[in-house]
Amino acid sequence: MNDVDPSPPSGRPARGLARLGISREQLLFWLLLELWVLNAADLLLTHYVLWLGFATESNGIMRYFLHEGTLTATVFKIGVVSVGALVLWRVRRRPAALVAAVLLTAIFAAVVAYQAVWVLSL
């Protein structure tokens, strides 16, 4: 986790963040943490909405794991995102890692907000 790529940080995002006084690694750390929490929230809301009987899982892979069982689906979903977050942290020197983390976190936030508002509208 603490292995550091000796190449200097580069790319526009890093330079822009530097001007704002934001550490790229710290931002990536928080984004990945948020991504993990949002993934867990997505899992809980998906389970709740499926339990309510108003939705079906449209992701074929997740549908397979949900069919296999709640524990299996939980381990798969949390595991995949955890591994993905670790990989992004591992390549945190690359500007693409930060871009990917921003996009993934924003998408997960949109999905979780949509589901949360839907549940609240019941």
């Binding site: 690694e25 928080w30 948020e34 936030a109 949109a110 949509y114 509208s121």
Partner: protein, 392 residues
Amino acid sequence: MSPPPRPPPPPPPLPRDSGHRLVASIGAATLLSRHREDRTDSSAPPSARALLAAALVVVCGAILGVAGFAFEQGHANWRPHATRTSAGWRVTQPRLGIDGADLAGDHLAWQAGPYTIVMDLNSGATRLVGAATDAQSVWPPAVSPRGAVWMEVADGPGKQTQTLVYAYDFTSRRRRHLLQTSSDLSAASPVVTGTTAYWLSDRDGTSLVTSCDINGGGPRVLASGSDLGPFLLADGSLVIWSSQPRPSAPFSLTVLDTSSDTTSDLTLPGQSGASFDSPVLADGTLVWLRSANQSGGDAIYSYDLHTLSARQVVSGDSLVGPAFDGSTVVWAQPAASGSGDVVMGLRLPGGTPFRIAAVSGDVSSVLVSGTRVAWLVGAGPRSSLATARLPQ
């Protein structure tokens, strides 16, 4: 006295290519410095600015999600127009119309095109509980104070027609898929009382009366025969179904008390040569519309299953209904002025008719439950549902 410190020795003379080496060493030192800084950053507590920036990403994503939900809801064609009136609510379904409705307790449910919609009459909040956009047909829901039940017919695997029975629990707000069957289910069913749904089905020439708890549990066949239906009624522990060998033949009624698992035959008085329409069972009393085939006049009758006594509630021409909740019979009749209909009520036993509302259109069905009454006006896209409080 100590001697003054010696000045540092002068640096050795640089070789000719030392400029490059100096730049390289400065670069390496810078790199090492950055490397150390980064190591320091990694172990340092994350800054508030980074945390705020990360939170901003989440907020932007959440705004997108909420906007997407609002856009989707704004363009949904199932959403009814519900307006509060001095007496209750008026509901219309733009473009779709209202095809059939039921009322129980604080909930009104209706079918609009492929949609099944539930409304909380206290708050006016509506909820889409069924969207059978792929179904060939949907039947209007049946409602009890605990939940709603409805059926959809859709193409199953291999283009075989499948009937699906759904239930929605008002308390848990949970929708359940109770049954999927290739049997033909009667359009007169399902009915629901409490948390138990009942329906009539036909498979290979055998008719079945089946029950199922809307909160789970498998279906249970209560009765089977070759000619069950078309009527199926349920209230509390009582279930009544009709048996009719042919559509035009006289029918008989069978009463099942599920609390004691006993059945008995029921013969209604004065039914020869008259039709038996819109039967309602509530609180041990059966109420129905009797249209005399010869005279053309209508009458609403009640029959108390406990005392086995029948009475004529009202008679007249072109009666619509009845609805009955165990204490109040509600019907609609043409207004004396000749324009529109009047929704009327009468409390059993022995009450006198009272006017509930005057309606400008033609009432096609009436509903009553507790202190609330509802009526469906017209048909097609211009149909509307109205609710009101029963006069005390």
